[in-house]
């Protein structure tokens, strides 16, 4: 008997459920007071995230949009103050920048002003500072934050509390400035609150506070991040200046001037100066004849953290504990130098050891960067050779330091500096844009022609490199007029994000639609409104879907639409209908669109191909498999005429044909089609689609009993996903649990069960015991263990899952499958125990 994996699974008699809900409310109210029922407008307050001088930040639930938000409440004392705060809040909500936490809206109730914003999750810059990062990386982060601040300043707002605790780095490493609740109009000039350690002198002394105060706080934060030391005002000398290149120290130093008039005219100018300096260095590096630049800078790494921090098992093995700089070698050098007959010998010895420590640390940090780059699949051959060269000269360098005498001691640090800058090696890690050019033939031609088109090309699939490409496009266009880039860029980003982060994708579409309308970019406007409608429908947000549809209808009327625009709109209507399960309606719209495309002849073959593919997918859902296959064949023929045999769109159609073959139990055909599709996707560097198709192939192989093949392709899908998903990402957990199950079924019982147990633990720790991914992982483990006769293990997980679900109705609508596994496992195990007793 084989049990199918547990999917969603709860049942409890309704009255029992009601009793339980009442009991919970009563217990909750008596233990925690009425807190749970507090509302601010339509928002339900769930808890306090933090309290500051300017009010409290709550975590709140917005039932209209079904999302958790952060609500910052502050009190305004007079109607004038309320009006001013509202105006400032609205101005803030209009500023949209990737490095600022989005403000959704501002609400006033009874003198309380509420700023509704996204809950920023991730580590703060303060936490990030605790680890060693290459200076260039730290500068990337700091410059991104400065750009966010510049956007605020351009909207005539001042942040007022810039500090490392108010910068949050997302899991993808994008820094965002949070706590915009203090932000005030820069014309206001008055200021309450702020953090003393980061306050500009004029802010401390009650003077006029403008964007220059933000510039000061940013420069202070940058200084602290880069040197590990925070200047305390009044600062005659900036601490740790010797660790920074002179030009960098000068730029930051100017931002830290006590007199606001002595700072840069604005933060934008500071950033421009900084970038000019960085570009100069990069240029220099590319033509520098050798990485061993004489007189280069020794340490490209922040701070002086202890050496030999944990290093991943990748990169250069010997670098983890370089034999030339083992603790005994280090102590020998210290003792040798300290014993020289010079007055300051002990101090010199300390200094030399510390400098060498930093040099070795910078090598180790660079080695970690190699690990990261390797995980991202980027080429690290050049950088490894560069680091190896550093490592090779280290023994000689240490020896030469030991041989110093009283006369040459003063030259000790110079000798270390002459080893060269390790940061140089890092510039040889493959640049993401270059890797896209090299590996992704889809974006390469567009890259040469126009970066804007790259991001559009990226939008079609979840190409792993596209996040970087889009960020680059944005940086490149940052100083140009909004209408030149904003609508298309927001739209491209949304198309890319829809594969990974639906919420943000919808926000970007909002921006794209309204900026396109304002800028008169009708095609982008229609695309954005259409895609917003389809995504909303796919996410089950019917109201939003239909609002977007009407917005698109209105736009269509306004502009006297062309035939292609009308055809695309029909596709949108079909997409919404299909997402709502109305496949007949969808198919009707698709057929109208197909007729329009056909009438346009050869000009729109690509669009016709795509519509045929979409129509086929609706036909499959209506059971019209033969018709669907015919349409797909036609689509492939058309798309081959345009792109040749090799294009991701063709891979997608092949994969749909494989679905039909599988439904018709033509498994060999399905495998053949999927193999063709995966070959294309491998060449096109499309990891998301590739992993999905390999997974599908695994399912087909399992149906035909080819378990070894199923294991092979599922393991490949798992390896691909590991390259671009974090281990505790729910999608990764699902994939790992699935691989474990396939391993068990392929006979690798121990390995599979171990992977499943490990995945379950990870899911519990990272996502929590009640997260859907945890429950599914637990259920699958219970079934897999049952099927290989591990009844004790099966019972442990299935019964626990069952107990959780009985007591938490609403979370899981059906409990039967779970219950059955629990009872059967317990029963089988009791039976086995009973038989064992009899045989004794």
């Amino acid at each position: 008997m084989t049990l199918r994996p547990i999917t969603e699974a709860s049942e409890e008699a309704p009255p029992d459920r009601v009793a339980r809900a009442h009991a919970f409310a009563a217990v909750h109210a008596s233990l925690l007071g009425s807190h749970a029922q507090t509302h601010f407008g339509r928002l339900r307050l769930d808890g306090v995230l933090g309290t500051g001088g300017q009010g409290r930040v709550f975590s709140a639930y917005d039932p209209r949009l079904d999302r958790q938000v952060a609500l910052k409440l502050r009190r305004a004392d007079s109607p004038g103050a309320v009006a001013r705060a509202l105006a400032e809040g609205r101005a803030l909500a209009k500023v949209s920048h990737p490095n600022l936490v989005p403000i959704y809206e501002v609400v006033a109730r009874n003198h309380n002003i509420g700023l509704v914003m996204e809950i920023a999750q991730g580590q703060t810059l303060r936490q990030w500072q605790q680890r060693t990062h290459p200076r260039e990386h730290a500068l990337d982060v700091l410059v991104a934050v400065a750009r966010g601040l510049v956007a605020l300043h351009e909207a005539e707002l001042v942040h007022g509390d810039v500090k490392p605790d108010n910068v949050v780095l997302s899991s993808r490493g994008v820094p965002r400035l949070v706590d915009l609740g203090l932000a005030r109009s820069s014309r206001d000039g008055r200021r309450e609150g702020g953090t003393p350690a980061y306050m500009a002198p004029e802010q401390r002394t009650g003077g006029i506070v403008g964007p220059a105060a933000d510039q000061y706080a940013w420069a202070l934060m940058a200084w602290e991040t880069l040197t590990g030391q925070r200047p305390r005002w009044p600062h005659a000398v900036l601490p740790g200046a010797r660790e920074l290149p002179a030009r960098l120290a000068a730029i930051l130093g100017r931002g830290l001037q006590t007199d606001p008039r002595a700072r840069f005219a604005d933060l934008k100018t500071l950033v421009r100066e900084l970038e000019r300096w960085r570009r100069g260095r990069r240029r220099w590096r590319t033509w520098a004849p050798t990485w061993l630049a004489l007189g280069g800078l020794a340490a490209g790494v922040i701070g002086t953290r202890p050496a030999l921090a944990t290093v991943d098992p990748c990169g250069i093995e010997q670098l983890r504990t370089p034999s030339a700089w083992r603790p005994d070698a280090r102590e020998q050098l210290r003792a040798a130098l300290a014993s020289l007959p010079v007055a300051a010998a002990p101090q010199y010895a300390e200094q030399v050891v510390a400098r060498t420590d930093r040099y070795v640390q910078s090598l180790q940090a660079a080695n970690q960067q190699v690990c990261v780059a390797q995980r991202q699949g980027r080429s690290t051959t050049a950088v490894q050779a560069c680091l190896q060269a550093h490592l090779d000269v280290l023994p000689d360098a240490v020896r030469s330091l030991q041989e110093l005498d009283a006369a040459s001691l003063a030259d000790a640090t110079g000798r270390i500096e002459r080893l060269g800058a390790v940061a140089e090696c890092l510039t040889q890690i493959d640049d993401p844009t270059r890797s896209v050019t090299a590996e992704s033939p889809r974006v390469a031609p567009a890259l040469a022609a126009d970066l804007g088109r790259v991001s559009l090309a990226c939008g079609a699939y979840a190409d792993a490199s596209c996040g970087d490409v889009i960020a680059r496009v944005r940086t490149r266009h940052a100083d140009q007029p909004e209408c030149d880039h904003a609508p298309d860029l927001a739209f491209a980003e949304a198309r890319w994000l829809q594969h990974n982060d639906r919420e943000r994708a919808r926000e970007r579409l909002d921006t794209a639609a309204w900026t396109a309308e304002r800028c008169g970019r009708t095609d982008t406007e229609l695309h954005a409104k259409g895609l917003a409608a389809v995504i909303a429908a796919q996410d089950g947000d019917r109201d939003a879907a239909h609002l977007w549809l009407s917005a698109a209808d209105a736009a269509l009327e306004r502009i006297d639409a062309t035939a292609p625009q009308r055809a695309r709109h029909l596709e949108t209507r079909a997409g919404v209908a299909a997402a709502e399960g109305h496949h007949e309606v969808a198919l009707r719209h698709r057929l109208e669109a197909i007729a329009l495309w056909r009438a346009l002849g050869d000009a729109e073959l690509d669009a016709l191909g795509r519509s045929l593919g979409n129509a086929a997918r609706d036909a499959i859902d209506l059971g019209e498999l033969t018709q669907a296959d015919a349409w797909l064949r036609e689509a492939i023929t058309l798309q081959t005429r345009i792109h040749g045999h090799d294009h991701p769109d063709i891979a997608r159609q092949l994969s749909t044909r494989a679905r039909i073959a599988s439904q018709q139990q033509r498994y060999d055909d399905a495998i053949d089609l999927l193999q063709q599709a995966t070959t294309i996707l491998e060449r096109w560097h499309e990891p998301t689609l590739l992993a999905a198709m390999l997974n599908n192939m695994g399912v087909v192989y399992q149906r035909t009993g080819q378990r070894a093949e199923a294991l092979h392709v599922t393991a490949r899908a798992y390896e691909i996903k590991r390259r671009y998903l974090a281990d505790d990402d729910p999608r990764m957990i699902e994939t790992a649990a699935n691989l474990g199950r396939v391993q068990v079924e392929a006979g690798q019982t121990e390995q599979g069960l171990a992977l499943m147990e490990q995945t379950l633990q990870r899911s519990q720790a990272a996502l929590g015991p009640e997260h859907a991914a945890t429950l599914v992982a637990k259920g699958n483990l219970a079934s897999a263990a049952f099927n290989v006769g591990r009844y004790e293990q099966s019972a442990r997980h299935a019964c626990n899952l069952y107990a959780t679900r009985v007591a938490a109705p609403g979370l899981h609508p059906d409990i039967d499958d779970t219950g059955r596994v629990c009872w059967r496992a317990l029963g089988q195990w009791a039976l086995a125990e009973g038989r064992a007793r009899e045989s004794r």
């Binding site: 009442h22 233990l31 808890g47 306090v48 933090g50 303060r126 015991p769 019972a795 009985v806 125990e833």
Partner: protein, 188 residues
């Protein structure tokens, strides 16, 4: 405000209890949401008394000694140990001198599992069979298999040394197998 960055409530029970002890109402709420279902199912079907009242008493005791809770070796075991004391007190009040956890079971002996539950409720049969075991054995099975307590946690919840807890689990399995006897095949 840095708190914005750390909005997630900790998954770890210790951190959660510590945050609650430090006055974070959100942590208290999360603690309650996590433990209410566990306690509800622990008390359900075992006593005539109001289950909500027993859950509330247990949680109230947790609130009163929230510092102790945060320092407990295993938070779940600590809470369940408290729940067990409440249950025993309730059963003593209900059954008077006849109550002996080493002898008495929740359901009277002689009730056949297959008769006690109709065919549609077969999955409850095993649970009922478990409730026919002496309480100290039934609770060991329940806490281990249904609540997922490992050996050390089980020992802490039952307030006995770990080897004794393991021994009790073993005895519980054996008696359950005996008790099910020929009924077993009927519901497999």
């Amino acid at each position: 405000m840095s708190a914005l960055a750390t909005s997630a409530v900790p998954h770890d029970d210790h951190q959660l209890a510590a945050a609650w002890a430090a006055g974070d109402p959100q942590a208290g709420d999360a603690f309650l949401r996590r433990y209410f279902p566990i306690l509800w199912r622990f008390f359900r079907h075992k006593t005539q008394r109001d289950v909500a009242d027993l859950v509330q008493r247990t949680l109230l005791s947790a609130v009163r000694h929230v510092d102790r809770l945060a320092q407990a070796r295993h938070v779940r075991a600590y809470v369940l140990a408290t729940a067990r004391h409440e249950l025993y007190a309730a059963l003593r009040r209900e059954r008077g001198a006849a109550f002996d956890p080493y002898e008495t079971s929740i359901i009277a002996e002689g009730t056949s599992p297959s008769r006690a539950a109709g065919r549609t409720q077969r999955r409850e049969q095993l649970r009922l069979a478990m409730l026919r075991l002496p309480i100290i054995l039934a609770e060991a099975l329940e806490l281990h298999y249904f609540e997922g307590l490992c050996g050390r946690e089980l020992a802490e919840a039952l307030d006995i040394p770990e080897p004794t807890a393991r021994g009790r689990l073993h005895r519980a399995r054996r008696q359950l197998a005996e008790l099910l006897g020929e009924d077993l095949d009927a519901w497999l």
